[in-house]
C-alpha cells in the first residue's frame, strides 16, 4: 500500500510538472520562442523608470528564448544621439531601441526603422490571437505608424494632465480649471491667497527653459490645446508673428511670469517635478507618467494630496506622447529582435509591469484590480482614460516632423527671452518669425 501511494505521488508530480510546463507555454502564445536560441541582441533605451523595470525583467526573456540581451540605458539626450549615429552610419549596432514619439519621423523618413507589419503577420513569429494588438486604442497605435508602415510598438501612452493640490483647492474652495480663462482666474486666486499668507505654494508653473524638449515642448503643446500651431510644417508657413501667435505667447509667458516661482525660467522638467514633490507648487501642467515622483511616500511631501484632471483646453487637443520599441533596419537579427519587441509589448508583460509605471499603452490594463490598486486615485485613472479616448490628437503635425527640434528650439528661445525680461512678446514673436524664415518658412503675411 505504501509502495502504491508512492507511485501515485510520483505520477501526480510528473503530471503537475507537465501541467506547469504546458501552462507556461500557452501563457506566451503559440510560437516557438526558442527558435533563435544563441542569438545576441543589443538594446538601447532611455534611462527612465519604465526602462528600469524592463531591464529588471530581461532575464525572463533570456530564459524564455535563449537569446542573450545587452540592455543599455542612457539619458534621453545621449540615447538619441547614439541611436542617430548608429542609424546614420548603417552599422546596425543596436538591434532594438526605444523611440520617443517626436523622433519617429526623424528616424522613419530616412528609412532607419524596420517595418513591423510583416513580422506581426508571420504566424511563425507572432501568435496574433495571444498578442492581441487590438488591445491598443486606435489613436495610441496610430502613434507608431509612419505613413502606412507600423515602425514601432507603443509601450506607454503619455499626455499632459493638470496636477493640483487637493488640500489647497479644498481650503480655498476652488475647482480645477477646464479652460484657459478659468486657469488664469484660478491662478490669480491662488496667488492672492499666497500674498495674503493663506498658502505658501506658488500658483502655477509650466516649463519656460529654452529647448525643444523643455519649454519648447510645453509651449507647443499648450498652443495646440488652444487650437493654435506656431508653424504649419506642411506648407512651411510661420504663424509666430500673427495676432493669435502673440496672444498665445502672451498667455503662456504671462502665466509663468506672474504665478510661477522666481528663478523657475531656468528649471528643467526634473527641477519642476522636485519642486512639486517638495510642496512648492499648487498647480502644474505635467505628464501623467510623473505621478510616481509625486506619490512616492518616501520622498514626496505631497503624496496623497495631489489631484489629476485633464489640462485646460479650448478648440484643441493635447498631442499624444508615446514611447515605442523599434527595430533597426540594419539589424542583422531582425526576427530575433521582433521576438524581443513582441515580448516587451506583450499583454503578459505590460499587465505585470503597468502597476509599476502607470501609463501603459494597452487599454485592458486600466481595469485590472492590481493596476487600480497601485494608482493614486480613480480620478487619475479616469483622467487618463478620458485623455486617451477624447483628449489626444495622434496626428499632431508638429511632433511628426523632423524639423520639430529646430523650430521648437528657436521659438522657445524667444519665449525664454520674454520670461527673462530681455524682450517684449511682440519683439520675441517678430524675432521667432525671422529665425523661422531663415530656415525656409514663409511668413503668413505673404
Amino acid at each position: 500500500m505504501k509502495k502504491f501511494g508512492g507511485l501515485v505521488l510520483f505520477i501526480f508530480g510528473i503530471l503537475l510538472i507537465c501541467q506547469v510546463a504546458t501552462g507556461a507555454e500557452s501563457n506566451w502564445g503559440n510560437i516557438d520562442w526558442m527558435q533563435f536560441k544563441g542569438t545576441q541582441l543589443n538594446v538601447l533605451a532611455t534611462s527612465m523608470p519604465v526602462s528600469e523595470v524592463y531591464k529588471s525583467k530581461i532575464a525572463e526573456f533570456e530564459a524564455l528564448t535563449g537569446i542573450k540581451v545587452n540592455f543599455e540605458l542612457l539619458n534621453d539626450v545621449d540615447r538619441k544621439k547614439k541611436q542617430l549615429v548608429d542609424y546614420a552610419s548603417g552599422m546596425g549596432e543596436y538591434d532594438v531601441a526605444n523611440v520617443g514619439f517626436s523622433n519617429r519621423e526623424e528616424f522613419a523618413q530616412p528609412g532607419y526603422m524596420e517595418s513591423l507589419q510583416p513580422y506581426l503577420d508571420n504566424p511563425k513569429l507572432t501568435d496574433r490571437d495571444w498578442y492581441n494588438i487590438d488591445d491598443y486604442p486606435r489613436d495610441v497605435l496610430a502613434g507608431g505608424i509612419s505613413g502606412d508602415k507600423l515602425v514601432m510598438i507603443p509601450f506607454t501612452a503619455e499626455y499632459f494632465l493638470l496636477w493640483y493640490r487637493k488640500d489647497i483647492f479644498s481650503q480655498l474652495n476652488l475647482t480645477p480649471p477646464k479652460t484657459p480663462t478659468e486657469l488664469k482666474a484660478v491662478a490669480a486666486k491662488l496667488e492672492e491667497a499666497r500674498k495674503d499668507g493663506k498658502i505658501e505654494e506658488f500658483a502655477f508653473i509650466e516649463r519656460t527653459m529654452s529647448g525643444s524638449s523643455e519649454g519648447g515642448w510645453n509651449l507647443f503643446c499648450t498652443a495646440h490645446r488652444l487650437g493654435f500651431d506656431f508653424v504649419d510644417f506642411k506648407d512651411m508657413v510661420s504663424y509666430a508673428n500673427t495676432p493669435k501667435g502673440i496672444e498665445i505667447m502672451s498667455f503662456y509667458t504671462d502665466l509663468c511670469k506672474q504665478y510661477g516661482p522666481p528663478g523657475s525660467a531656468n528649471w528643467t522638467w526634473t527641477d519642476i517635478g522636485a519642486a512639486a514633490a517638495q510642496g512648492k507648487l499648487a498647480m502644474v501642467v505635467g505628464g501623467n507618467a510623473s505621478y510616481a515622483y509625486l506619490e512616492d511616500k518616501n520622498t514626496s511631501k505631497v503624496a496623497g494630496k495631489m489631484g489629476y484632471v485633464p489640462p485646460p483646453m479650448e478648440n484643441g487637443k493635447d498631442p499624444l506622447w508615446i514611447w515605442g520599441w523599434a527595430i533597426n533596419a540594419k539589424s542583422k537579427n531582425k526576427e530575433a529582435a521582433w521576438l524581443l519587441v513582441q515580448w516587451l509589448t506583450s499583454p503578459n508583460l505590460i499587465t505585470g509591469m503597468a502597476p509599476l509605471y502607470g501609463c501603459p499603452a494597452r487599454k485592458s490594463v486600466y481595469s485590472l484590480p492590481e493596476y487600480i490598486e497601485a494608482m493614486p486615485s480613480q480620478e487619475f485613472i479616469d483622467s487618463q482614460l478620458w485623455m486617451m479616448e477624447n483628449g489626444i490628437d495622434p496626428d499632431t503635425q508638429f511632433l511628426l516632423t523632423p524639423m520639430y527640434g529646430e523650430v521648437a528650439d528657436l521659438v522657445s528661445k524667444e519665449m525664454n527671452a520674454v520670461v527673462a525680461g530681455i524682450k517684449t512678446v511682440e519683439q520675441a514673436c517678430q524675432d521667432a518669425e525671422a529665425a523661422l524664415i531663415k530656415i525656409g518658412f514663409k511668413s503668413s503675411a505673404q
Binding site: 539626450v77 538619441k80 544621439k81 542617430l84 549615429v85 546614420a88 526623424e106 528616424f107 523618413q109 530616412p110 527653459m209 529654452s210 529647448g211 525643444s212 523643455e214 516661482p261 522666481p262 528663478g263 523657475s264 525660467a265 531656468n266 527641477d271 519642486a275 512648492k280 523632423p402 527640434g405 529646430e406 528650439d409 528661445k413 524667444e414 525664454n416 527671452a417 520670461v419 527673462a420 525680461g421 530681455i422 524682450k423 531663415k438
Partner: protein, 300 residues
Amino acid sequence: MRIQRTTQEDRRFILWSIFPSLFAVVLVGGVPVLYTFILSLKDYQLIKPPGVYIGLGNYIDLLMNNPRYIHALLFTILFAAGAVVIEIVIGFLVAYVLADEEVTSRYSSFIRTLILIPFVVAPVVVSYTYKTLIYDVTFGYLNYFLQLVHLPVFDLSQGIYNAPIGILIMEVILRTPFVTLILFAGISSIDASIFDAGAIDGVSWWKRMYLLTLPNIKPIIVVAFAFRFMDALKMFDEIYVITGGGPGYVTENVSIFAVRYGFEYFRMGYAAASAFIFLIVVLVLIMSFLKWSKFEEEMV
C-alpha cells in the same frame, strides 16, 4: 667633445621607433579633423543622408548670414579671456602666498589640499550643484542668505548679465586651483639666491613680487594662460547644465551652438563648419598670443 653625425640608418631607426605613436596621433587627431573638414563642405543632414557637396556654402552662411553664430563666437572668446585673466590673477596671488616662506609648509599643504577640492570634482557635478543648491532662487543657499540680509535675489534666468556672471564665478572657483598649482610650482622653482639678493637690497613686498617673481615665471604664466584659454574656449558642461545657453541666446557659446546644430537640428555639415571656423580662430588667437608674449624667445 666631437658630436657624431646621425647616419641614414639611425634616422630610419628613429622614424620607425616613433611611427606607432605618430600613427596613433594621426589616427585619433588628424583623421577626425580631416573628416570634420570634409563634412563641413557638405549640406549633410543626419535625417536626410547622403550629404550634398556645397563647397564653402556653410562657411559663408555662418560668417555672413548668421548673427547667432557671430554672437556665440564673440561670447566664447570674451568669456574665456575674461575667466582666464581672473583665474591667472587670483591663482598667482594664492600661489605667491603659498610659496612665501612665512607660510609654513604645514599650512601650505593644508591650503593646497583645500583648493584642490573643486579641481577633483567633475565639472558637470559642480555645475549641477551650483545651479540647484547655490544659485536657484527657491532652493539655493545664495539667495537664502541674500534674502536674510534683505538684499535682492540673484536670479540666473533674468536679464542678460546674471547668467554670464553666475557661470563666470563658478568657472573661476572651479579652475583657479589648476592655475595656482602650476604657478606655485613655478614660484617654488625660482632660485632662492635671487630673493636673498633682493632682501639684502631691501626690496619691498610689492617690488619682490613685481620685479623678481613675475619676470622669472613669465614662461610658466604664458603656458598656464594658453592651456586654460584653450580649455575655456571649449567649455561645454557648465553652460549646458546651468543655462543651456540661455536666457535666449545670451550664454550660447560655440560648443553649445555646434552640438545644437549637429544633434538637435541634425545639420552635421553646418555644425562641422562652425567647429572648423572655431578651430582656425583658436589657432590664430593662441599663435598670436604666444608671439606677443615672445614665448619661444623666453623658452630659449
